[in-house]
Symmetry: C2
């Protein structure tokens, strides 16, 4: 099940901590989904309300899968301290007791976009490619070595920049978006860095061969692919060529 | 992967809620581990300190696996409300932030018994049969239908009685046991009933065919087997015939 890292063997020299971190950050610079044309259209105010609806209901699939992948990671480790740290991710997304959590905040966004909540939660209108990408992420966390699974969360290193841009761009450009609607992203501005710092320190301490380090870097590439594939699917269906698959959400339908 | 229920088909009549609950409670009356000879020796003050040590360090394997199986269950459900309820089980065992949780309380017990904490946590001295039984439980929760996985937690219906008996019996009979040491069991007196009530209502609502109901009843039998097998292994190794497997804990060694 291990990721196969082409051209690297366990005998290769370990990267220093700074070099390792730089290699991970370079993945973001190269392929984080803020470089996708759909992202630029979204934040630049170039999308119709229907296209933003399509984005929001597809992205719900990803949001709602996050606690499942985090619980899967917790289910795999004997390390109580890792579990005690990681559980906060689930609490952030699912909420706890009287706190609503990120998924609920996402539904506030889809509500504001005029989407029926049950329809969003059912995921019936989501693109199959979205769901395949999301479930590939959950399986990756179930199946890969634990350190590599932790590494796959590290796209959070790149998230605050995109969220700041998203908040500003969407508030400015769409009349149907307000502060309350953007609460999800505002919250992530503080949550994501804390989580990313922990995960980064964890992989620095636990990737003990060059092969494991490269597998961690590949995990961030994989995760970027998961995010990119979701925007590809949206672009294909709702921008150009506008090929909406059978059964998927149709704006104004 | 479904449990096969002999002689029952989906066409059979659904049990009423009370009848269903009674069938589950009957499993406890028949085969919960309070009926095991080792349990009677433990609570009756008939064990040596070495035998109590063996029990405590083997039982640690079970305690420490509980959050993994609960996280596994959470990783399998799209039902946010179920996850929001179930996460409390993990918090109870792992603790959260400044709260220590049940595993830590268990280690207070093994500390008091004079066992080295790292040795206990390593599980090196545990009986292989203990670990096989515990991991069978984790796999059951990973692989069985969700309602059946929930049902396997229902031995908690029978736990408060055994814990009350254990607290009284152990405090009375062992000079090396005090109130602080029994904190784990005291806490479970209130936690277990809340959890069990939720799980019972969940399976009543979600087992919608007789076959599913019987699979739930079988899940409680399975779980009783998991608990019983652990006491069998202890009895075999440390009471009679006293056949301690290679590598397993040896009292006073």
């Amino acid at each position: 099940m291990n990721e196969i890292v082409r051209g690297v063997t366990a005998a290769d020299a370990l990267l220093g901590a700074a070099e390792f971190e730089a290699a991970i950050r370079a993945v973001g610079a190269e392929r984080y989904h803020d470089k996708h044309p759909f992202h630029k259209l979204l934040h630049g105010g170039k999308l119709s309300k229907g296209q933003v609806q399509a984005w929001a209901l597809n992205r719900y699939c990803y949001q709602s899968a996050v606690p499942r992948k985090d619980a899967a990671l917790m289910s795999r480790t004997l390390d109580r301290e890792l579990r005690r740290e990681w559980i906060h991710r689930i609490m952030d997304h699912d909420g706890i007791d009287d706190e609503h959590g990120g998924i609920e905040r996402w539904l506030v966004l889809t509500d504001a976009l005029g989407l029926d909540r049950d329809y969003v939660i059912s995921m019936e209108g989501a693109l199959p490619a979205t769901r395949f990408a999301v479930e590939a992420y959950v399986r990756f966390v179930v199946e890969q070595p634990l350190t590599v699974a932790v590494a796959s969360s590290l796209t959070e290193l790149f998230a605050p920049a995109i969220h700041r841009e998203r908040i500003a761009g969407m508030l400015e450009n769409y009349p149907f978006v307000n502060d309350e609607v953007m609460a999800y992203f505002k919250r992530r501005l503080t949550q994501a860095p804390r989580d990313a710092d922990f995960a980064l320190e964890y992989i620095k301490a636990n990737a003990r061969t060059r092969e494991e380090q490269e597998a961690c870097i590949n995990a961030v590439r994989f995760k970027c692919n998961v995010l990119w594939a979701q925007l590809d699917a949206l672009h294909n269906a709702y921008v150009e060529p506008g090929l909406i698959p059978p059964g998927a959400f149709r704006p104004n339908a």
